[in-house]
């Protein structure tokens, strides 16, 4: 009996392994996101994931005629989880970088936002050059372009890395950190809501193409080129028919579409 069961399991595993990925008909697409990044994705009081990328994701699914599910996934494990098949696409403000392209494939860029520093409201200096921030503590989320940027340019500062972006923001509010580097829209959202005016935006950094890439894209397993093509087509369609503008208007005063 045991052997029989084992055989069945092995056979099933083989069958799953050899069936070519391209033959898959996409009926449901599972979205993975790290919902600690308001207003792009966060968890509301009922426990549902909400935000710009949820609304936009739903609009894309409507175009692609597939059913969508959204699940929350810790940022540090988001690429391994995608590769392990826990969901089909990372739709979580992931910037398209050369480092990540070694592991996943990306759709076209669907948004690009300004990146910059936030500091405590009492800090009046607007100079955020590496020299000015020497010896100061700067926090950001680990495994992000921000972490890579700090590592490259702010070697003489005390860089602290956190599991989510919420945590450096909290530590900035409490005064444990002198600066936070992040997406300025996210920082503004924090300052105006949870942060309660604790802090202010110091300024925007100049994008380093090598680190920041062209902007944010959806990430897929390397085999799922068909799914990526579906997304690219849907992104172009939502651009053309004004859906994108309608959704971003709900969240942002300025356009985040980027070039």
């Amino acid at each position: 009996m045991r052997e029989k069961m084992l055989l069945t399991v092995v056979a099933l595993a083989l069958a799953a392994g050899i069936s070519p990925a391209s033959a898959k008909e996409w009926k449901t697409v599972r979205f993975g996101m790290d919902a600690s990044y308001a207003p792009f994705e966060s968890v509301d009081t009922k426990g549902d994931i909400i935000g710009f990328e949820v609304d936009y994701g739903k609009a894309l699914c409507e175009k692609m005629k597939v059913t969508c599910t959204f699940q929350n996934q810790d940022w540090d494990g988001i690429i391994p989880s995608l590769l392990a098949g826990k969901f089909d696409v990372i739709f979580s403000s992931m910037n398209i970088t050369a480092e990540r392209k070694k592991k996943v494939i990306f759709s076209d860029m669907y948004y690009a936002t300004p990146i910059g520093f936030a500091a405590q409201a009492s800090n009046k200096s607007n100079d955020f050059s590496p020299e000015a921030l020497k010896g100061k503590s700067i926090g950001t989320q680990s495994s992000t372009i921000h972490a890579n940027y700090l590592e490259k340019y702010y070697k003489n500062s005390d860089v602290k890395l956190y599991p989510t972006q919420d945590e450096p923001n909290l530590d900035l509010a409490s005064g444990r950190l002198d600066y936070v580097l992040g997406d300025l829209l996210v920082e503004e959202d924090f300052i105006n809501n949870k942060g309660n005016g604790c802090c202010r935006i110091v300024g925007e950094i100049k994008r380093d193409p090598e680190i920041h890439g062209p902007g944010v894209g959806a990430a897929f397993r390397p085999d799922d080129t068909d799914l990526r093509d579906m997304f690219n087509k849907a992104i172009a369609e939502t651009d053309a028919n004004g859906t994108y503008d309608k959704i971003q208007g709900k969240y942002f005063k300025k356009s985040i579409r980027g070039k």
Partner: protein, 242 residues
């Protein structure tokens, strides 16, 4: 098949990774070593007082000690660490007023503070168990010989209690080493923190394997050294048993 075997080997022995990031693992190991050593030593000193309070006849003192060790042994260490780290952030104005903010501002001190309190609770229970396992009759016998309380403690109770406590104290040290990996969550770049950092840069899972091997090696080393110490101190017991 050969392809997969090669892949597997290069996964296990990733020299490029070690060459580029090996120093980070060493730096992390140093922080882990510091945090654990300092915490366990402070915890050991604290545990003596907690244990004394616990065994005292004063109801308030022993009640406070029971509450202390129940709390720290009954709640997750991660929860305690968050309470200290983010809790301190919430009451910053108060801490600044009493001049303690510099201490709680630093993740390093927060970790040592939390770990010390946590391990003190466990160590005090180990001490208490060891002390109460020394037969009362021996203390009475000592008293009947006219020995002072200090001499009874110094020559009769403590040597035996220490021997009984030695093993479980070693186990506590080992569990603190493993628990110290939680420090990485509050930005400390200990062994686990550096591992997470390297993983974030490379998305290479083998770095977790290296971290696991390093932790395992430390734990095994301590286990063996502790076994030697135990043997050395209990020579007379072994000799008597022959």
């Amino acid at each position: 098949m050969l392809q997969t075997a090669q892949d597997f080997l290069s996964f296990i022995f990733n020299f490029d990774l070690l060459q580029e990031y090996g120093w980070r693992l060493v730096a992390g190991l140093k922080i882990t070593f510091e945090v654990v050593t300092i915490s366990v030593l402070i915890g050991f000193v604290l545990s003596y007082f907690v244990c004394s309070a616990r065994m005292s006849r004063n109801v308030i003192l022993s009640g406070a000690a029971v509450a202390y060790s129940t709390f720290f042994r009954g709640t997750p260490l991660l929860c305690q660490l968050y309470l200290v780290y983010y809790g301190a952030g919430e009451i910053r104005p108060f801490l600044t007023d009493v001049g303690l903010w510099w201490f709680f501002r630093d993740a390093y001190y927060c970790c040592i503070f939390t770990f010390s309190l946590n391990t003190a609770a466990y160590q005090s229970e180990i001490l208490r168990g060891a002390l109460s396992s020394v037969p009362k009759g021996q203390i009475e016998a000592g008293a009947s010989l006219g020995l002072s309380t200090y001499r009874i403690a110094r020559h009769i109770v403590w040597p035996q209690a220490f021997l009984i406590a030695l093993r479980p104290l070693g186990n506590e040290l080992i569990s603190m080493i493993k628990a110290s990996a939680l420090a990485a969550i509050v930005t400390l770049l200990d062994l686990m923190g550096q591992t997470r950092f390297i993983f974030a840069r490379t998305f290479d899972f083998s770095v977790y394997l290296y971290a696991a091997v390093i932790y395992l090696a430390i734990v095994e080393l301590i286990r063996r050294v502790w076994g030697r110490i135990d043997k050395a101190f209990s020579r007379h017991v072994i000799a008597a048993a022959r």
